[in-house]
């Protein structure tokens, strides 16, 4: 099993995507299929951007097993008051500045759900959010 951990700085858009990029490199080195890497990278990048756009700080933990990749994104931030709405495509609480950069289209969580096999959102308003997600390394798909 390969374990990775990367810190995410809230508000620093210049660095958004750095952790996802590092994970992508490792997945490539491990010869995981291109299609699965693409899906994992979309889910991770969206999670990373969510932390940058909404939280103060956070970190990504990735465990690469032979049959699956487990990912956990933990942040200290405002939490999600309405998870059900946040899961809907097009719903966003992003600021105007963030939207002007091309984020905040309300596609983040739906993209994450679409590209993973398991997604759990634990959130406490005023404290933070933890996303737990899994991608099966099922080469039949």
């Amino acid at each position: 099993m390969v374990k990775l951990r990367y810190e995410i700085e809230g508000g620093n858009f210049d660095l958004a995507g750095t952790a996802s990029s590092q994970v992508k490199k490792v997945l490539k080195q491990l010869n995981i299929s291109q299609l699965l890497i693409k899906k994992i990278v979309v889910a991770l990048y969206e999670s990373e951007v969510n932390v940058v756009a909404h939280a103060y700080k956070g970190h990504i933990e990735v465990e690469i097993h032979p049959e699956r990749v487990d990912m956990k994104i933990t942040d200290e931030g405002p939490g999600i008051p309405d998870v059900e709405s946040a899961m809907k495509a097009g719903f966003s609480t992003a600021s105007q500045k963030v939207r002007e950069m091309g984020f905040g289209a309300g596609m983040g969580l739906p993209n994450i759900k679409k590209n993973t096999d398991y997604l759990k959102i634990e959130t406490v308003v005023g404290k933070g959010t933890t996303l737990t997600m899994t991608k099966k390394l099922d080469y039949a798909t």
Binding site: F13, D14, A16, G17, T18, S20, S21, K24, Q34, K38, V41, V42, Y45, E46, V49, M101, G102, F103, A105, M107, G108, N111, K114
Partner: protein
């Protein structure tokens, strides 16, 4: 009868697109031999993450650091900035570091897409 052109000869390189569509190369000159297999036009990063495909040329007005991050994560062939947008020195430096081709045109997305579409 339409002549059968071998697939190898049909491949369109970024450098050929630059020449044929009169584009400016801002960054990533080392990667202009990248093959362009399609295109995607969008200014929403999540949309590009969700729907662009490897080898696409991404036509957009977003010229910040995350444009480069998205292009790199999605293995895009190039980014094409429209409306005469010029990326910052920092963005150019990042693109060069990551080997991402950043192109520019004075035209709007609609017209440059129309020009590029039949070339790919």
């Amino acid at each position: 009868m339409t002549p059968i052109v071998p697939k190898e000869e049909q491949k369109m390189k970024v450098s050929e697109l630059v020449e044929k569509a009169g584009l400016v190369v801002f960054a990533g000159e080392t990667a202009v031999a990248n093959e362009v297999t399609g295109g995607y036009v969008s200014d929403l990063l999540s949309d590009v993450m969700a729907n662009a495909r490897e080898g696409d040329i991404w036509i957009t007005l977003q010229s910040h650091m995350n444009t480069i991050a998205v292009a790199s994560l999605k293995d895009l062939a190039a980014v094409l900035l429209v409306n005469g947008i010029v990326p910052s020195a920092e963005v150019i430096a990042r693109a060069n570091d990551e080997g991402i081709v950043v192109l520019g045109t004075g035209e709007a997305a609609f017209s440059i897409t129309g020009k590029i579409y039949p070339l790919i």
